[in-house]
Amino acid sequence: MTTLAPDLLPSVSTRPLPARTSVRAARRVGFKVVSAVLVLIAAASVTFFAQLVIPGDRATTILNLQNGREQKWSTAELAPVNDRFGFDHPLIAQYLDYVGGFFKGDLGTSYTQFRPVTSVIGAQIVPSLVLTIGALVVAWIIALVVTLVTVKRGRFVSGAGSSVEAFTASLPHYWVGVILLVVFAVKIPIFPVIGGDGLWGTVLPVLTLAIPLSGFLGQVTRDEFDKVLDQPFIVTARARGMGDTGIRLRHALRHAVLPAITLSGWALGALISGAVIAENIFGRPGIGQVLVTAVNTRDVPTVSGIVLVVAAVYIVANLLVDLAYALVDPRLRAS
């Protein structure tokens, strides 16, 4: 393949689910789940490490942030902070505390707001997820339709389709969002400028995320489609009397979407990044606002928390994709 895509495939190997031994199959599934949990733990370790890496003493940093100035604090002033956050416990204890806490749903305490990160994030994650998943669905629909219609239909049409996909795939989210905002909310006031929670207000943000992703998915699917249509089994199908539409839908499609399915796990993560931007542009509620504020105020635990949650979503999503993949294509694959 010629795009960036295939090398972003998760490296969790897709081994076959053998037709008869369900014990072996269960073992494989279990192995993948355990693997995913380990990766989660590792991700939590990374975010823990991120909090250690902050330049300077953490208690000092917190007090500085609280009071809006930089100064040296006395031990007596630092003590309650150290106590509250547990900074004077041995590092191992802090680490285990953090990771264990993550699995229990506790993401630490915000440096600026002095309340649990989970309450800072709160229900804000939900609208972001809605946006993300909606965008994924819409992106898939666009990509599939465009690809199915334009692939291998003469140089002009398929070349045009390919170019359109390449173009949309390179569009930055903020640009698409701003253009959509300006054109469809300001100049031609169809949609509201400030997104809000309603369905109508979700359209533009979803499109903002979906358009670039559809270009990307489309590229990958199209490349694969092209390759598949040259395969001998397509000739066999034609020689049986199958027509073009049948070939595309019944035979080629299933093969062509395989790489894009694998990518969807990764795409989810990328979409969440985009959601941050889209929420920003359209003034939509979601973790975007929380995140940007947290970064601006150097509230590392909150940022870490959000990032970790997103990582968790990504890991779980990939696990599901991986398991689903084995159902769609149970072939032996050389890793």
Binding site: F233, V235, T236, A239, R240, R331
Partner: protein
């Protein structure tokens, strides 16, 4: 006679009940002056032939002859950008030239069945075998949802697939190569077409399986189907075809009854093709003969003192992804004497290539060792072995992947020369030696600048042989060196190898699945199956008086030129 083309006609009759509207021997497919061009290039330049019911016509040719394009044109699948013209193109009275796509779809699979090679590529791996076999039934409106699966099982059974109900639910990659190919044939004959076109149907198969598939096709022929067989393999053609058309460069150069053409070819190209087939009859003589009969080989005497290369009780075990151990090479021993060719023959999965790689010390065995001139070879450390590597060369099946794509021929050969006992010093000397090498393998100085992509298959293999020769080795391991080549090119390369052996006295370990090639090339032969050596002996012994039942089976299954009735 009109061809029933309506898709709505349900066909509930089985092939036994269906009345044949033509009697055997009547021409069913008539082609006159067929021309196919892509852009400005004419690929098929006006050929004429006919296929008769109950008879098989073989179209024989090498790559580039246009035979595959012809096959596809007969079902209207010439491909993008192809222009088809002919004076006549008829199937049982229907003019195929003026059909629109819709009518073609009614004919394909229904009146004409198409079988491609290698069912692993020619069947949809993501669909069940039953769905693939049943697809033509569904497309042409045969039966209904209940009767179709039954018919599929019947079809699989009729082509000899055991446990057809279970197999129908599996996917093609779960079946063995032979069963897959049968399933592919089943899907082609599902609607009992009057004409079956088979494009290299046995090429990817082992000899024994190939024989079974040919039997299947012969049975179909008995039932009155007309068969057009495309092949490059004259022995296969001899086994199955009644008439043969020899194609070269888009033209038919000879056309007639198989037995006559093979026994007494009129055209020199046909003669070349027949001569080029290696077998027991060609031992000791050149395959490329031209007009003058060539002199037999002048061989050097074989030194039967101490073996040059000796493998002792080699064992190689692989652990599969599911944790199961597979013994790929099981207690294999061999001896290679100076000046001789040791042939190792076996079907796929027999362990012959793995044995070769162990002999090359590119793979470490779990048990046993290999001695080179009586000294340790495989038991040495990598570093100790490196300076000795010049003694053993290798020629691979696919030369293209064995060349660095960025290097020129000159660089490839100069690099190999630097590993020999007398590496050339200075650019001028290097170039001279490289040209010398090229001439030894029948190429010239004008190939120096070429990259491997620009060379033909035969030329690449010659360069590969030159590279193997450069360090002046005593032994060359040839791993299927001609399997990917056209018959005539294969003949040239085999002749080159034998000439080099006569000139330089180099010994070969020659690996192949092709019994004819092995018989032609080898002095002694090892027959391998499932990792074990089942028989060993001189080539004549093995091929004329095989002891082991497996060897006997192999030889019975082998199609021969003389089989043409």
């Amino acid at each position: 006679m009109t061809v029933a083309v309506s898709r709505k006609t349900p066909k509930h009759e089985t092939s036994n009940e269906r009345s044949r509207e033509v009697t055997a021997g009547q021409p069913l497919l008539k082609v006159e002056n067929l021309r196919v061009a892509f852009g400005n290039t004419e690929v098929v330049k006006g050929i004429s032939f006919s296929a008769k019911a109950g008879r098989c016509l073989a179209i024989v040719g090498e790559s580039g002859s246009g035979k595959s394009v012809t096959a596809r044109t007969l079902v209207g699948l010439t491909g993008d950008g192809g222009r088809v013209e002919s004076d006549r193109l008829e199937l049982g009275g229907t003019d195929l030239r003026t059909l629109d796509e819709r009518t073609w779809r009614g004919i394909r699979g229904n009146e004409i069945g198409f079988v491609l090679q290698d069912a692993l590529l020619s069947l949809d791996q993501l669909r069940r075998v039953g769905d693939e076999v049943g697809e033509p039934l569904k497309l042409h409106g045969w039966g209904d949802r209940r009767s179709r699966p039954e018919r599929v099982v019947e079809l699989l059974d009729s082509v000899g697939v055991p446990e057809p109900e279970m197999r129908a639910k599996q996917r093609p990659y779960e079946l063995s190569g032979g069963l897959r190919q049968r399933a592919l044939i089943a899907s082609a004959i599902a609607l009992d077409p009057r004409l079956v076109i088979a494009d290299e149907p046995t090429t990817a198969l082992d000899v024994t399986v190939q024989a079974q598939v040919l039997d299947l096709l012969a049975a179909s022929k008995e039932r009155g189907t007309a068969i057009v067989l495309i092949s490059h393999d004259l022995s296969v053609v001899a086994r199955l075809a009644d008439e043969v058309a020899v194609m070269r460069d888009g033209e038919i150069v000879e056309y007639g009854e198989t037995s006559k053409v093979l026994r007494d070819p009129q055209h020199e190209y046909t003669r070349t093709l027949i001569d080029a087939v290696p077998s027991e009859h060609t031992r000791g003589i050149r395959l490329v003969r031209g007009t003058t009969p060539s002199a037999p080989r002048t061989r050097r005497p074989i030194d039967r003192g101490r073996p040059l290369l000796e493998g002792r009780h080699l064992t190689k075990v692989y652990r599969g992804p599911d944790g199961v151990d597979r013994t790929v090479v099981d207690d294999v021993s061999f001896e290679l004497f100076a000046g001789e060719t040791l042939g190792i023959v076996g079907e796929s999965g027999s362990g012959k290539t793995t044995t070769a790689r162990i002999a090359l010390a590119m793979l470490e065995p779990e048990g046993g060792d290999v001695l080179l001139r009586g000294e340790p070879w495989t038991t040495l450390s990598v570093r100790e072995r490196r300076p000795l590597r010049s003694r053993v060369g290798v020629v691979y099946q696919d030369p293209l992947s064995s060349f660095d794509p960025r290097w020129t021929v000159e660089r490839i050969l100069a690099d190999a020369l630097s590993r020999g006992p007398n590496p050339p010093s200075g650019a001028a000397a290097r170039k001279e030696r490289v040209v010398e090498l090229l001439e030894k393998v029948g190429l010239g100085a004008h190939q120096l600048e070429a990259g491997p992509l620009r060379l033909s298959g035969g030329q690449r293999q010659r360069v590969a042989i030159a590279r193997a020769l450069a360090p002046e080795p005593e032994i060359i391991v040839c791993d299927e060196p001609v399997s990917a080549l056209d018959v005539s090119v294969q003949a040239q390369v085999l002749d080159l190898l034998t000439d080099l052996q006569d000139d330089l006295g180099v010994s070969y370990v020659f690996i192949s699945h092709d019994l004819g090639v092995i018989h032609h090339m080898s002095d002694r032969v090892l027959v391998m199956k499932d990792g074990k050596v089942v028989e060993r002996g001189t080539a004549d012994d093995i091929f004329t008086r095989p002891q082991d039942p497996y060897t006997q089976r192999l030889l019975t299954a082998l199609p021969r030129l003389e089989q043409a009735s």
